[in-house]
């Protein structure tokens, strides 16, 4: 299953002009507010009509300006989870969920209401009204409702943006569960929070002022020094994969990356599971020699792949970690002092405490 998008849409002075393919799995679209994320996802859902181009799901045209095809929203079968859950206020949770099931095409197969309620932890909420639900609960119901409409694809427009930190942590595991194959649905996930994207996405499209600035696998795009100005210095950081090998009694777990072991606190995943670590670029320190006498033991041998010096005093450096990638942000002065250059072998020190629990995901 793949979604092929090639559209333009003018809104006043703003023009959305995008062309990309979302394959199976989770494709995230990152952009700051006003980048055109919602316009894009609404065009896919059929809530907004592009000016030109086409949108194709597998071989089914959803929209084609040249052929005057515009499949109405209710025929597109795009399960849409909105930022503001949009539960029907005159229905309780069961009725909201059943609304999706009721309008699913006849003969379609998929998880039952009970299965969805179990998956999303809704069994105790079924008789409640939307007004009696917390923000996170509402989003879980909205997600369940979308799943029960038996969609061909899921669209999510900042589903976590309205939630605070702990509530976010509460719902993210459900999204990860969804991703890990319970439904096998392709997901288009729009967000301006890179930590969510780093946890969930397989593919990443970076949207800036209506244009695609970068796209590709999540590991490649997030490790690309060129995206630092687009995502902001504080959010920039690559995703490293690691396997949990041991949980220590002191709360520190040992994880194995391709290039060496890391010791991290607050790892909830069981031994043997593959996890993703979102390592912020500003939390990576580079050293020419293997450092000793540091409080951090998370030192990985790396090779400099590319260096990007911007207009400011900072420089972003893409590092090869035995096949995986890291992104480091140092000062331009440090690049000179350390004689950093492409192909140079050095050591990356990762501050253990800098990897938050939320950025540890599958």
């Amino acid at each position: 299953m793949s979604l092929d998008i090639n559209i333009t849409k003018r809104l006043g002075k703003f023009t959305l002009d995008v062309k990309f393919t979302a394959p199976n799995g989770v494709t995230a679209v990152f952009g700051r507010s006003g980048a055109g994320k919602t316009t894009l996802i609404n065009a896919v859902a059929g809530l907004k009509e592009p000016d030109s181009g086409h949108i194709t799901l597998d071989n089914t045209p959803l929209f084609d300006a040249a052929k005057h095809i515009k499949l109405p929203t209710h025929k597109r079968r795009m399960g849409y989870v909105f930022q503001d859950a949009r539960l029907f206020p005159h229905m309780d949770v069961t009725q909201n969920l059943r609304f999706g099931l009721l309008h699913a095409p006849t003969g379609s197969t998929g998880p039952s209401l009970d299965e969805v309620a179990n998956l999303l932890g809704l069994t105790d909420l079924l008789k409640r009204r939307p007004t009696d639900l917390s923000g996170g609960e509402k989003q879980r119901v909205a997600l369940g409702r979308a799943l029960l409409s038996r969609p061909k694809m899921l669209l999510m427009d900042e589903p976590l943006a309205a939630l605070d930190g702990p509530r976010k942590d509460n719902i993210l595991p459900y999204l990860e569960r969804l991703k890990s194959g319970v439904t096998g649905l392709p997901i288009l996930y729009v967000s301006h929070a890179l930590d969510e994207i780093a946890r969930l996405a397989d593919q990443l499209v970076i949207l800036s002022k209506g244009k695609i600035a970068s796209s590709g696998s999540i590991f490649d795009v997030l490790a690309d020094p060129a995206i630092v100005p687009l995502v902001g210095v504080r959010q920039a950081g690559a995703v490293l994969q690691a396997i949990v090998t041991e949980h220590g009694e002191d709360g520190i777990s040992t994880l194995k990356t391709k290039a060496g072991t890391l010791e991290l606190p607050g790892v909830a995943a069981g031994v043997g599971t593959l996890v993703r670590l979102h390592v912020l670029a500003q939390d990576v320190i580079l050293s020419r020699k293997r450092p000793t006498g540091l409080s951090s033991v998370n030192i990985l041998p790396v090779t400099v792949k590319s260096i990007r010096t911007g207009d400011g005093p900072g420089a972003a450096i893409n590092l090869d970690v035995a096949g995986d990638q890291l992104l480091a942000r140092v000062t331009a002065r440090a690049v000179q002092d350390l004689d950093l250059a492409t192909g140079l072998d050095c050591f990356a020190v990762i501050k253990a405490t800098s990897i938050a629990a939320t950025s540890i995901g599958r």
Partner: protein
């Protein structure tokens, strides 16, 4: 309280006229309210003006226009007579038409406000779940605007019961045929010694009005309870 035959006739006719007018106007008012609330089209301002005109015109003037247009020799009236053999002027059916025209703006107004209060985002969400437009209207829009429809219906009914000026101009005041409750009260007050009969009908009119309001309040509370949390999609 004793009512004579003429009073009974007037009461029966008023209830018949008001019920018929309300039922006939309801679907059209809902449609017009939806057009005005949700659609952009050429002539929208004109439609809105036409609908609301009876609210600001003197009722007698509205009655005069009805007579001109729907009377035996009016453009629509003569057509109805020639093609269908229908006469509206000076018949109870004409009283229904007058009640529809006069109550229409009140019904449309209440329903339009209710429709405008429904967040279109909820209807969009329903469409993404696979609901056809008609299905969205029936299962989402209609339940959410139920209080507005109810309010509009009650207002229209009360207006139909009380309508006097346009009715008496269009269908006159023929006892047993076109004499509604207000017309009968007016007639009785013109006759020396008719105050007693007038007062009986005045009291009756008050009872009907109070019952209608009480009923609508009770229904509105039940509906509000059913759609508790009608605050959009927060």
């Amino acid at each position: 309280m004793m009512l004579d035959a003429a009073s009974w006739d007037a009461l029966r006719l008023s209830l018949l006229v008001a019920c018929t007018a309300t039922i006939a106007a309801l679907p059209i008012a809902l449609w017009v309210a939806w057009l005005l609330a949700r659609r952009q089209f050429y002539g929208k301002a004109l439609l809105s003006t036409l609908v609301h005109l009876p609210l600001v015109l003197p009722p007698v003037v509205t009655g005069y226009f009805l007579l001109m247009i729907f009377g035996r020799y009016g453009p629509i009236g003569s057509f109805l007579y020639d093609v269908f053999g229908i006469t509206l002027a000076f018949r109870w059916t004409g009283a229904v038409l007058a009640a529809v025209i006069m109550g229409f703006p009140l019904m449309v107004r209440a329903m339009r406000l209710a429709i405008e209060a429904v967040d279109p985002k909820l209807e969009e969400a329903a469409a993404t779940l696979g609901a056809k437009p008609a299905s969205v209207f029936i299962s989402i829009t209609l339940p959410l605007i139920a209080p507005g429809i109810l309010a509009g219906t009650i207002m229209g009914f009360a207006k139909a019961i009380g309508e006097f000026g346009a009715t008496i101009t269009f269908v006159a005041n023929i006892p047993g045929q076109t004499q509604t409750l207000p017309s009968a009260i007016y007639s009785f007050l013109q006759i020396p010694g008719g105050e007693g009969r007038a007062i009986a009908l005045v009291l009756l009119a008050c009872v009907i009005a109070i019952t209608a309001v009480a009923l609508s309040e009770w229904l509105a509370q039940r509906v509000a309870k059913r759609i508790r949390g009608n605050e959009g999609d927060t």
